[in-house]
């Protein structure tokens, strides 16, 4: 199915772009032949990338020349987004962020460590650039269901044994969230509910850690910067969104709204 769609699009592309040089046309013909080959299910990553970029080039880049010309001059995104590296939760996809809208950090379990220039220059660089250079107005930290990093945090053996080198060290940033979930018995015996609760609490830990960066704290206190947390539940297709004001966390809104059972 996907290959048929690709062939259709390639045919259309070829017929519309008569000025294509022979070399390019030959390459596209070759690609189409490979797609038409029956029973050949070999995944070619290079072809996948080519196809992906061609699609973007034809349907977005070429169709919005003003936007892309403007973006080439500079960016002024309104959002700094922290999201998990998980392949299923790209905010560009689930929240339809267009080019230019969101400066985006993606790491395991969408964690924001406390200010530490020696240990966490990666995150620090992102925050520093987004706040001081780009002057974003909103930070959004998005957690999600079934997060492997959060699961690792929750299941990490208490005896300190560590089969992994780096991941355990990294997810320890979320340790206060784990402590809270365990101490308050959130989720009861339901492991998945525990993990998802930990993921949400870890977002709040990250929001709090953001305030350890002086320029974040300053901009937030001057009301030039809003801090928000989100949780994408891809099991049920639901998104929660809340806001942090100082030490207060607002009650999340749920999208779509839950039905009331009165």
């Amino acid at each position: 199915m996907a290959s048929q769609l690709a062939i259709q699009r390639l045919n259309k592309f070829l017929s519309e772009k008569e000025e294509l040089e022979e070399v390019a046309a030959a390459k596209i013909e070759k690609l189409m032949t490979e797609l038409l080959r029956p029973g050949d299910h070999h995944f070619d990553p290079v072809q996948r990338i080519i196809h992906g970029f061609m699609d973007f080039r034809m349907h977005k880049f070429d169709k919005n020349p003003c936007l892309y010309a403007q973006l080439a001059q500079g960016q002024s995104p309104k959002f700094l987004v922290f999201a998990c590296s998980d392949s299923r939760v790209s905010p560009s996809y689930i929240l339809n962020f267009q080019p230019g809208e969101a400066f985006m950090a993606r790491n395991i379990a969408n964690l924001v460590p406390k200010f530490n220039q020696l240990k966490h220059s990666g995150t620090g660089a992102i925050i520093e650039y987004a706040i001081t250079a780009l002057e974003v107005e909103n930070i959004l930290v998005i957690g999600h269901s079934k997060c492997g990093g959060i699961q690792r945090l929750m299941e990490h053996p208490e005896d300190g044994s560590a089969p992994f080198d780096f991941i355990d060290e990294w997810v320890q940033i979320g340790a206060p969230a784990k402590d809270k979930v365990i101490a308050e018995g959130i989720g009861g015996d339901d492991k998945q509910a525990q993990f998802d609760s930990c993921a949400k609490e870890a977002v709040n830990v990250s929001l709090e850690n953001l305030l350890s960066y002086p320029y974040v704290k300053k901009a937030a206190s001057e009301r030039k910067l809003a801090l928000r947390g989100g949780f994408y539940d891809f099991v049920n297709g639901v998104f929660e969104l809340w806001e942090k004001h100082g030490s207060h966390i607002s009650t999340p809104i749920t999208i779509p709204p839950l039905h009331r059972h009165n």
Binding site: S85, P99, S121, A125, F166, I167, P257
Partner: protein, 270 residues
């Protein structure tokens, strides 16, 4: 900005003068918040009109919200029976509405139309790629390479850099460890881009003692900077920056410059 108050059987009142919010009664689940603010300076923008947009999201039996009027308007009483969000500024409410609209569009146009696929993905992910891209708002790999949910485990940082193993734990190598050891991705793709602010910072660095965060991070690309400066000392700044990116990336990287794409140095089209 939003203030949330949850009560049951209490009265919530909003004073028109200082926008302070207080509760007159209490319950065991009471959450009281008093906030005062200058409405015209929130987020640096003025109210465009006097209207405050209402948002109705009922999560629990709790607060019922009547209409809120603007800052020249009246104090309103809220009979509380349902929990809802109290919206105060156009900017704050616009953003929640915007997010709501964005997610609902995704849910309607993509999630529900491919429900079986999303249900399978919810069980497990098996991405074929680890992609390391820049945090720049213009170069999201999901957008420019069309990665669909489930296809690419993604790391995004300033200037799409990968620190060496010897530099110890970092978010990038934690992601590398997870994607290679646990997810067993078969392909790693590092994507650089034109006009990269991080690369610019790298190229204009000198040997100052007190580095900013950005400088502490982009120094991971220092080898490329030194090589480029040695090899291309006569070229312009922008050309040097492009060379840094090309040489820093792995062999099969993609580079976009003025709409051209080259894979393994073969030109597709311009």
């Amino acid at each position: 900005m939003a203030i949330l108050a949850s009560t049951s059987s209490s009265t919530l009142s909003i004073s028109k003068d200082s926008y302070s919010l207080s509760l007159s009664a209490s319950t065991s689940s009471l959450d009281i918040h008093t906030v005062s603010f200058n409405s015209s300076t929130i987020f640096g923008s003025k109210r465009k009109s006097g209207k405050i947009q209402q948002t109705h999201f009922s999560n629990y039996p709790g607060v019922t919200m009547k209409a809120l009027r603007d800052h020249l308007g009246l104090a309103e009483e809220l009979k509380t029976n349902k929990l809802e969000r109290v919206v105060e500024t156009e900017d704050g409410s616009d953003l929640f509405e915007d997010m709501k609209h964005r997610f609902l569009s995704f849910k309607k146009d993509k999630y529900l139309k491919n429900l079986e696929h999303y249900q399978n993905l919810a069980k497990a992910q098996a991405p074929k790629f680890l992609v390391i891209g820049c945090a720049d708002s213009r170069v999201c790999p999901s957008t420019i390479l069309g990665f669909q949910p489930g296809e690419a485990f993604m790391v995004r940082n300033i200037a799409n850099l990968v620190p060496p193993f010897e530099s110890g734990p970092s978010e990038t190598n934690a992601a590398l460890e997870f994607s290679v050891n646990s997810l067993e991705v078969k392909n790693i793709l590092v994507v650089g881009h034109s006009c990269c602010g991080g690369i610019r910072a790298l190229m204009s660095m000198n040997d100052e003692v007190d580095k900013s965060f950005i400088q502490s991070w982009v120094v991971n690309g220092n080898d490329a900077r030194l090589w480029t400066k040695a090899a291309a000392s006569k070229l312009s700044f922008d050309h040097n920056a492009n060379t840094v990116r090309r040489n820093q990336s792995i062999e099969d990287n993609l580079k976009e410059k003025h709409g051209r794409i080259s894979v393994k140095n073969h030109l597709l089209w311009s």
